[in-house]
Each structure stands twice: as structure tokens, then as C-alpha cells.
Symmetry: D2
Subunit: 308 residues, 4 copies
């Protein structure tokens, strides 16, 4: 298997910056791809060991392109996640002053994050959308636009300088990225893990989704993401991408997954992996620790033998 | 171990009649005891292999003396149950005519079952309570009373004849009896079984009992009996005697018991045994068959290995 | 209407003692009846304004005779409850010493409460059951037995003296009594009330009882008693006598009762009345106070008008 | 108020075609806006009586731009919905033949719907994204591209002809549009209605979302859409846009909304309006009809008066 990771390119984007925070990235070749789909297909085809793509951000929620790719096609699994705080730098050709800027460019997704800053600082600048923030930087380098919003790390790559840094309209703006690979044994539990699944309901009836969520709730498992995605069977038909606290090797999680497998039309396991925030799952509900699960299973075994 | 069964005596009662319907009774010595407690204590002390006692009837509900004995003390288990339709015969000394009867006797529990018949046929007869129906028959034999209500089978034992049979005010009057023994491996599932447990709540809070019942409900397990009994910790403190459809070796039942064990303060397993009515458990809820449980467990194991 | 209360007699029992703790008893004629049924029938027939009967005790749980009378027949309602701690006095004819006592008598229900005391103090005394503790006292007065276990208050009534008082095997032994009348407007909420109902399930299916209890649980209503009683439709058919915290004029209780009325085959309202323990209902669940109910109803009304 | 509807323009798009299916559109001036946001702002500012925008489609699911606008800012309400099947025509300048086509253009959202058709029929044509399908048609008219994918209705508007019609990769491709206005009294129930709300959880705990959905489920209310949207409070914080069967004037819906209002941090009512598919809500759960709600409320009122 090639020691390479595909990632959503081009170079110089937040995705690359996030990927480089992973220790294992240092020993792999990092290859930019033009789309989430092509990066994941590279993994499916065996051309890359892993693919690194954004999956959720604090402004847009679940990133549907990525979720839809994980939901359909040959199965993939998530092995790592990275949380990156998103703040922008205003990149210009060296020597450009704020008053020189007539046009600014970035990926459309950047716009909600810089809108207030623009209104206060460059109210008359014209917005030009680019295919990526890195691409906007390149176009500034080439002289097509005056300034680009991008990660500060992109400045050096394109011979630009950061006229301003730390630009962000929303506090706590973060993007979550995942490292995806072909199915394999999940990493051992770290003590602070999450588990991702996709659920398809057997049929649609009042209480159907409530009952699915009940498999988590009755075992004290908190949900971290619930994103509905169309199944392709026509409007109003959805499957559910769910991130839950805990690791599949936790007894309460394993039993919840078994319960879901029994009552769902289909369940796709997307992996158990360390949480980027490293918060331990909050086991508040009495009776849901591994010890209690083991002890209860042992008790039932003894009952089945008539020894108690 | 002595090949004997203790039963709630005296001879000639419905309990003995019910016990004799069990094939295994034919090969045991059947010993009457004066109370449910003494019969069960005989088992606990190893003086009898089993004890046969009434546990529920259609007029009184759960028989609290028996339930309280099973709830407390050294653990016992239920191995068999018998359902007996209760109809009475009017037993008299040979030659007695209906018009001769001035006094009638039976156990007080018989009274609700014969009240209408008495009103219509012997409106002026005086009622005299006896310690058991069999005892009433004995007192008729001895000449103390004119007639006794008892099972028809008691006539021969006391040299009486049945002036009338099939007396029962309530249609469907039945008593359920159980054969109790020291803890041992339950009989293999018959295809139509029930499982009995006693549950103590961890603490008393809104929804506590609802959640206990939810362990059965979410796995499609029907309840056949729910009888609250005082815990002895003061008024308003109850444990719950529950009969549920299915056998502890059914996956859905085993998982429900594990769930209860985890969330209850205490669970006492009272056995899995064939239903006297031989009705198969009604597995209506999708996803609750043994096959589906096994298949889901297998799927989770494959997920844990990354093979699916 | 006659200003009288029927009660389970005879005079000198705990029932009478409990009744006399009610202020309103001082202004009524108190008439003993031979049975719970006859006392309640006196109310149904208009011969008494109320009937005072035991309904639950810490040893036996729900008193089935009383519950069955409330469940069936012409509707009655509960208006008051009284909790009485049960401790016994050993009543003897004046001059009798402990060493003189060869026979002791009481109602069979007293036996579990005095068993240990007897074992330690009168191991050789013979037990003789009486129809009531007061009757036992009368039989001691008449010289038939040497001593009676009864309430200390019964001594004077039968010319006896209490050789020992405060006899009770179980700590916290209490009996709960209720004052029952014909249906009328319940007393206004006292701030610490309970509500009693009887529920019949529409049909028997997995989760049926869980869903009934859910009507209380989702509204944060704690249950204080759940006693199953046979419906008369054959073994295994039960209705449920339930005591819940709160008053029917509490919004959360009213909505729960409406929910039960909709999903049950039948609901019988047995009244809302002050709790004898005067503990306020524990409204722990957010969103279940009267204020929140009123505010939510107001909000929906405004939504229906398009004003918000 | 101006008799005009704002809609997501430009002219000639599917949005306009869907809007024109509404009878009330015939009597309003229809004004295209460049974005969902600007169309809704026109309503908020009183410049338009209503705004007509897409809200869900069978490929993308909930349209987040529209949902986010409804979730935040001054409250708006939905009054009508329209379902439109999406099939494309290939529009060309009169005289153009299939073999002449070197470049094709459309809005990027059209691409998944025409990809297969392109592969089979124009494998070598180059794709050029346009701001809208109508804009693509205009650019074909102006000679910039050879062909545009758009609704057949756009041909006449731009002097083009449809070389092919009925192009659609996915069967059942539909888009749902809504007519949005300032808050006012909802239309009377039509017998086949839906109700839209946004829910914010009070706090995040295991079972929180399950309990919200339980307010619908226990009243037999089916859900038609559940779309999570970021609250803006940082990654992992979501509110939920929900479409449920029924009308706020249905008792079961009103009571569910009250329940949600009580347990949620906030509920935003987005309206009750006729379903475009005109399917009556499926009232399968016993006890959830208006008659049963009214009858239960009446019963509780009688209990509160002691008359039953």
C-alpha cells in the first residue's frame, strides 16, 4: 500500500494545514486532490492509504459532500479526526496597503466569516469568488485580484504577505476534518473516543427515529452529530449520519450498535476513533459502565446455570 | 436428595389435584404441609426435592404468601407451572338431599365462587368457614356440617358423594400453581416459556418503573404478571414480581435481564419454565428473534475487526 | 345526608384510632361495620356520608379487599388519607402477670408484627386467631384467652390493662387508611397531594404498561403505589391501581390523566387528596411546573393566531 | 401591503415555474431576487407580501441557505408548499444539432442530474458552470456556450429550442418550495397539513433529542423532515428543523408543541400549511384523534368537578 494520504487540495488550504497536525502525516506523501470525491476514490482504488477531508464545520454543519461519499459506495472507515480553528489572514502582494485594495477573493465558504470585517475595513472592495482560498492567493500573486482571504500559512507559498491576521466574524469557528481509509480494525480505545454510523430506517412510522435514538439514550450514550441525508429514494427519504460518544469496544456502544442493527434496515459502521477534543465520554447514567455490563452478563450466565 | 414433593395440604385440595397432573409427580412421594412457608422451607432445608404451591388465581391475583416467600430468604427457582380450572362440587354424606342442608362449609377463598349458586339453591344455608376445603369435607364426614364445597376428587377420600358438580360463579376461574426447587440449571426452552424475576429499584424517581419495563418493551417481550410487594423498608416501598414471555436462553430475554441487572438495585431470577398454556411467545416486534440477535452480534464483531 | 362515617369495625381497632385523628370525625357519628364491603356499601346506599377503611400497609402492600371494592361497583372517591404507625400492646385482665399467660390472641394480620416478641418473651404461649384485635381483647375480657395483642387504646374499652406496649417486629410498620365518599368535587390542592386512578389497558401488548407509565414519567410525576388487580376476565388479566404525586388541578397531572384516558380502555378516577405525609410533590423535571404548562399553552395559542 | 411575491431568480428557473403553479401567484407581481436571503429580507422589510424559495430537494436534502434564514432573524412563517419534479431540457439556438455542441452550461446543482445523459450523448462536451440554469440559457442565447440544461419553460424566454427534454439521472428527483410570509394566522386545516418548527435543546445530554422526538411519537405524529443546523455557538451545537404531519389546530399537534415548548430552550413555530402531496396525516395510533383528545379533556373536567 502506498505510504500516501490524499487530501482535498489545493496546497495551502486549511485542509492541508489540519492534515499536517497529524504526526503520521510527517511520514506520508501528501497528495492534493481536486475534490472530496476524487480523494476518497483514490483510497477506494488503493492509490492512497488514507484521505483527509473536511466533514463538519461550525457554520455549515455536516459537510454533505463528504457525508454522501461515506454513506454510499464501497465502505470506508474514519480513523482520526482533527479540529481546526478557522481564522483568516488578508494576503496581499508585498507593499500593498489597505487603501490600495479594490478586489478581494476567497472560496465562497469564507464569506460568512469575513463579512463583518469587510464591512468595517473595506466597505467598497468587490468580492470575487475563487475555487479555493489557496486559488485566490494564487490569483493575487498573478495580479488578478488585490487581496485574498486564506490561512496565514498560505502566504509564504504564494509569495504574499499577511496584511491582517486573525480575521473571523464568528467566535469558535472551527472545521472538523477526518482521515478516512479502507475498512480495518479500529484503533484501540483511547479513553476519549467517538463512533460514527449511518442508519437507514426499516420503515417510516411515528416514533421510528425516536426508537433508533433510544438505543443510544437508554445506554447513556450522548450524540455529537445527527445529520440527515437523502437516501436517493425520493424527497422525504433520509438516512441519518450519527456520531456518538464512545468506542465500539465499550460494552454500551457495542450493545447499542447491535440494537440498531436489529431494528434498522441497514447500519453502516464508519469507525471508532479518538476525539480531537480528547474529552472522555460522559458516563452519567448508572449501570452503563463496562464493569456493570460485564458483571450483568456474568450474572445472566450464572442464572442460566442455576448458580447464584 | 429425597424423591419427594412438598405441597400445600391437606390432601384432597385443589393443590394436590393440580400437582397430580404433573407426570413427574407419579414418581415422587407427595407430602402435604400446613402452609406455603413450611412447604418451601422443606425445600430450602433439603427435606424435599420440590414444593408445589399456588401462586396466582383469577380472583385474588398474585398470591402474596407465596410471592413473599420467593422474594425473600434463600433463593428458590420455579421449574414448572400448572393451570387448574376451579369448579366446586357440593359434597355430602351419602343419602343427604339438598333440602336437608342447613350448614355449608369451605375455605373462605371458595366463597366468591359459590355465592350465586348458594343464593339460588340454598338461600337459607348457614356458611361456616374451614381451614381448607378438604378440612370442610372432613367436618362433613364427621357430621359437624351438612355439606362442603370442595373439588369433586375429595369425595372418595372422605366417604362423601357429590350432590352437585361444576359449581363456579365466575367463568374462567383458574388457579396457577408452581413447582419450586433449589437453584439449578433451568429446563431447556420448550418453545413456549416464561421467565420470572423480582426487581428492586435502585432509587425511586419519576420514570423509574417505566424504565425497568422498557427493558422488556424495547425487546418486544410481553409481560404476563406484574405484582408489587412491600420490601419491608416501610410503607410505599415496593419490589416487583414479574412474569415475562420467553426463556432466559432467548437472546432478547437474556439481554433484557442484563439490562435490568445493570439498572436495578437487585434482581432475583426465579426461573424460566414451560408455560402451562403452551402458547408460544408472541414475537411481533421486528428485530427481536434469536436469529436477528445472533446476526447483529456477529456484525458488531466484524465491525470490531474491520471486516464487513 | 347523614352526618356519619362508616368504618371497618369493631370499635377499638386501629381503624377507629386512625379515624379519630381526622378533625372532621369529631363532628360525625362513627359507625362500625363488619367488613370493608359493607362500610363502602353504606356510602353507596347513602346511609353514611363517608367510609373509613385501610387501603395499604407496610407488610401486606395494597389491601386487596379495599382496592377491589373501589375498582368495581358504583364509583367512589377518596377524600382523605391517614397514616398510622402500628405498634401493639399486650392486653391482659388486671393482675395477670407475664408468667400467667398460656394463650394469646389477635387478628392473623398482627402475627408477623409480634412473632419475634413472642419468641423472646412467651415462647410457649399458644396462638389463637381472632376476627379482629378488638375481638381478641373482648375474648380476654370474657376469660377465654389470657392475653390479646391490640392497640393500647383498646385496653380501657374492654377493662384490660397493658402489660407491655410498643411491640413491633418491623420498624416503620404503618397502615394507610382512606376516607371514601360518593363522587364530588375534590378538595382544593394543599400543595402536597396525591391522585389515585385505576387503569385498564386497551389491549395487552409488549410495552403496553410501559406506555401507560410513560404518561406519568414524561411529565415528571412520581408514582407512590402500583398495585395490579384481576379484572375478572380470567387469569393474567389485570387492571392497575395507581397513586401518583400531585393533584388533578396540577396541569401536569391533568394532562397525564388526559393521556391515559385516550390510550386506556378505561380510567377510573379515585380522587385527589392531601398526602398524609404532607411532603410536597417533587417537581424535579424541567418543564413540568404549572407556570411552564400555562406559558406553553399560551404560546401555542399565540402561534395559532400568528402573533409571537 | 404590496401585492407581490419575491422569488429566487432569475426568471426562467424552476423556482419561477413552481411559483406559477400556485393560483394566488396569478394575481401578484412576481419579482426575482438574486438570493434566498434577499427574497426573505424583502418580506421582512415589507417590500413583498411573500417570498418563494426552495427548501428541500431529493438530492441535497434540506436546503441550508433557506433553513438558516428561517431559523434566525425576524420570525417568518410558511404558508404554502409546492413540489416540482425536476427534469431538464437541453436548450440550444435554433438550428443547432447535437453534433454541433462543444460546450454545455447549467447551475452546478444540475450536474448530478444530467451526468449520465452527458456521458452517453455528449461525452466530449465541456461543462461550464453558470450562476443559474436561466443564466446558462442566456449565455447560450448570447453565443457564449452551445447548449444549456434548464427547464423546458425557459426556451421561449431566451429564444432557444429544446433539442431534448425529460433529462434526469435520478428517478423521483423533486424539489420542494415554500411560500414564506410575515407571521399571521395559519390557514385553516385542509385535512392534509404539515407543521414546521425549529427546536433548540435546553442542554445536551444523553436522550435529549430522543425525548424531543418523543413528544411527537407518543402522540402518533409522523415526522417528514429532521434537519440539524448549527446554532452558531461552535462546532457540535445544533438546532433541529422539523416538519411533522398535521396542523397546529389538531389537538395532538398542539399538545406536542406545548410539550416541546416546555422542555426546549426555545421553539420557533414556522407554520402549519397544506401538504403539496395532499396525503392525509396517518393517524394510526389509537387515542390520538381530535375526538379522543376532546373527549379526554372533557372527562378530566368532569373529574375535577366530581361528576362522572
Amino acid at each position: 500500500m502506498p505510504a500516501s494520504y490524499a487530501y482535498l487540495g489545493p496546497e495551502g488550504t486549511f485542509t492541508e494545514a489540519a492534515l499536517r497536525t497529524l504526526p503520521e502525516a510527517a511520514t506520508r506523501e501528501l497528495i492534493p486532490y481536486v475534490s472530496v470525491q476524487s480523494a476518497l476514490d483514490a483510497v477506494r482504488a488503493g492509490e492512497a492509504e488514507g484521505a483527509f477531508v473536511p466533514i463538519e464545520n461550525s457554520v455549515e454543519g455536516g459537510i454533505t459532500t463528504t457525508l454522501d461519499e461515506l454513506v454510499a459506495g464501497a465502505p470506508l472507515m474514519i480513523y482520526r479526526e482533527v479540529l481546526l480553528s478557522i481564522t483568516f489572514a488578508l494576503l496581499v502582494r508585498p507593499g500593498t496597503k489597505l487603501s490600495d485594495i479594490k478586489t478581494v477573493s476567497a472560496h465562497p465558504a469564507a464569506q460568512p466569516q469575513v463579512r463583518n470585517w469587510l464591512r468595517n475595513n473595506l466597505p467598497d472592495a468587490q468580492w470575487e469568488s475563487a475555487a479555493s482560498n489557496a486559488d485566490a492567493a494564487r490569483l493575487v500573486q498573478e495580479g488578478q485580484y488585490d487581496a485574498a482571504f486564506a490561512g496565514e500559512f498560505a502566504a509564504a507559498m504564494y509569495g504574499l504577505e499577511a496584511l491582517e491576521t486573525g480575521i473571523h466574524d464568528a467566535e469558535n469557528a472551527q472545521t472538523r476534518f477526518v482521515l478516512v481509509g479502507r475498512p480495518a480494525r479500529p484503533a484501540a480505545p483511547s479513553g476519549a473516543d467517538k463512533t460514527s454510523v449511518v442508519l437507514w430506517q426499516r420503515d417510516d412510522h411515528p416514533g421510528g427515529l425516536r426508537d433508533l435514538l433510544g438505543e443510544f439514550a437508554t445506554r447513556g450514550i450522548n450524540l455529537m452529530l445527527l445529520q440527515s441525508r437523502p437516501t436517493g429514494a425520493g424527497i422525504g427519504n433520509y438516512c441519518f449520519c450519527i456520531d456518538a460518544e464512545g468506542h465500539i469496544s465499550d460494552r454500551r456502544v457495542a450493545e447499542a450498535l447491535m440494537g440498531l442493527k436489529r431494528i434498522c434496515l441497514e447500519v453502516r459502521f464508519l469507525g471508532s476513533y479518538p476525539r480531537a477534543d480528547m474529552k472522555a465520554a460522559d458516563v452519567r447514567l448508572p449501570g452503563t459502565s463496562d464493569e456493570e455490563f460485564v458483571s450483568a452478563a456474568d450474572w445472566v450466565a450464572r442464572c442460566q446455570d442455576g448458580r447464584f
